[in-house]
Symmetry: C2
Subunit: 430 residues, 2 copies
Amino acid sequence: MTYSERVRHLLASSHASEGDTVRLKAGGKEHSGILMPHHEFSHPDVIVIKLKSGYNIGVMVDDSFELKVEVKAQERSPKPKAPSKGSDLPIISFLGTGGTIASYVDYRTGAVHPALKAEELVATVPELTEICKMRSKVVFSIFSENMDVAHWQELAGAVAEELNSGVEGVIIPHGTDTLGFTSAALSFMLGEVPRPVVLVGAQRSSDRPSSDSYGNLLSAARFCVNANAAGIFVLMHGETSDTCAHVHRGTKVRKMHASRRDAFRSMNAVPAAILDLNGGLEMTAQCHPKNDVKVQVDTRMEPNVGLLHFYPGLSAEAVSRFAEGLRGLVIAGTGLGHVSKDLVKGLKILTSQGMTVVMTTQCLEGRVNLNVYDTGRDLLSAGVISGEDMLPETALVKLMWVLGRTDDKDKVRELMLTNLRGEFSERREL
Amino acid sequence: MTYSERVRHLLASSHASEGDTVRLKAGGKEHSGILMPHHEFSHPDVIVIKLKSGYNIGVMVDDSFELKVEVKAQERSPKPKAPSKGSDLPIISFLGTGGTIASYVDYRTGAVHPALKAEELVATVPELTEICKMRSKVVFSIFSENMDVAHWQELAGAVAEELNSGVEGVIIPHGTDTLGFTSAALSFMLGEVPRPVVLVGAQRSSDRPSSDSYGNLLSAARFCVNANAAGIFVLMHGETSDTCAHVHRGTKVRKMHASRRDAFRSMNAVPAAILDLNGGLEMTAQCHPKNDVKVQVDTRMEPNVGLLHFYPGLSAEAVSRFAEGLRGLVIAGTGLGHVSKDLVKGLKILTSQGMTVVMTTQCLEGRVNLNVYDTGRDLLSAGVISGEDMLPETALVKLMWVLGRTDDKDKVRELMLTNLRGEFSERREL
């Protein structure tokens, strides 16, 4: 979609172009900001401006609408370089990986580019320079649905290097699609870390009304500096409105909405922290404090591990074909961790052939319990390992990691049933 | 676990046995009810009694605890048969299928049996006789993880028969594990129905403290009689506390917790109705009113349809092996409905071989949109059909149903993109 005839006429008659600083009057309110390019998903009658705060708003053009150009883009001086605020500010490393958050808006022209340099990315959030000194590196730049085990390994190595160089935190802008998988992978590969590693994404790119890119990056930097927390975290919008960001533990987080900004949720866990967008920080769960440990990164992974969700009619034969060449298989069963009788038999054959099979629940919340019903007890007899209250995705990543370091069956079982990175919640007494 | 020494001693010295009516004093409160058998998952110091309301409570035995037998089980007269309240009460059919809700407690002995006759099941909820005349049939009695397409077909036939005989509603006690699959299958197979068909489950069997069996059955009957609503619904507890039940549309509901009583949620939709457990009814969404249509059941299904959830590292080869012999495949992609580049190519090969591929989102909430990013556009070019905001499970069942009646590619696409049974929510303008 493009602008409507009405908006095109208005912009032409006001001599307003993308990148100009404009003043709008609409519905009794006044706004001043930089005129953004029209976004293909915006309403044809909506004009988007970037406010001084960096936050974008969309304004509907109606009969009461007025627009005046205050500064033409070409007359405005280029954005000054990030001022050096002295050596007292802590250093944060930004490791770029791609995704929606990595879209970079040129303040002068208003045009949108993929951010190839992390400097460009952080340049969209000038307040960062008041919080930290920035160091940046683009590890790769891809849509996150194209990430695989090799990308996780490369990223883990880069994070370890930054942490061991003594930075106050590492922020990883990342596509949201597989953000939870990557945060789980980093959690297992990095082990104990001295400082926060915060993966951060955006559900709406920085040229769109209500982009969450700005707020999430700023909150991530505040969390790194102000929270006494070491670990792997995911930070995303916490509510539909622009009130707060939630910090989730890397092994307990899942994308639970295709498009909403508050899509990410801690599953079977409370968020680790809540940051209001004005800078306030509330720690909502106990975190490992910052410390001086040297990171011992261990990126060994067995990529030949699969994940299947059970459904009525899923045959043992289909599962067996799928599992060909795999060393491990995670099942997301129904309810407490169930599959059909037919499939219990099929899984027993797989385990007898040496495959590790782990049961999780497709309910996503709650805990696998293979001791309540006959089906569960039959699964235990078939050699299936309980995934406790791990997310299916986290169980997949953990099993890759565990099989990457041992093929001793007892050791695999022991590691899968041990809480290594906060991937289990405390078991409550029934 | 069994009772503790303390409780065993107390019961022996009071001459109390299972099935006796007892009066308890504990923590300053008094309760009277039938002593239930000890449940293996109950705390060793907890005694469970069934109150007169039919609701079970567990009471911890402590130093202040007192217990007195009021009526011995053998002295109590057998439970009178359901009184015939005259012909003015509407008829509800109960079609048994098995599951946790189908556990039946003998009021006199307190012993727990699987309910083989639906009369036994409804006998646990005497209030039902004040709401309706009951007709009952056990269609089968299995754990719902063992249901498959053939069970859905048999059940749909049985429901159609009952509806066409003129009953006021059909209630289907069902295991919770695959309740949402069955409700979707019945929705497609039955088409337009004249009265409500309510699938109802229980997360805790009727011998356990806080069983939801009683409340859910009673609410289902109240809904059938008091709501002017025709359609396929799922009724389950609405909150953690015993305040209300939620009625969900059969195509929009999913089990979202392994064990909680309020595990079921309407996804991308509001519940159709809320019933408070005292009998109040609030319709929260528009429902098709009761009518006089004759049900034209159509149980044709293509069972060779699969469902796969995408994850980093899922190879096109594994998908292709899994899809061998299938006519349709539903993918639960990431975010707006994405998979890796490698898999886009793999899916293109499958569609070129004649397979129908439908994309849903593993976020579960929100809507697939294949027009936002390159990955989505590539999927459309590969012939993949958008599942809109359908649940992956509902898309699977729908695709089975659609492929059961046509192999015309255009017709399949058209049907998949048409809202047939409320499986899509209204698309909102972006």
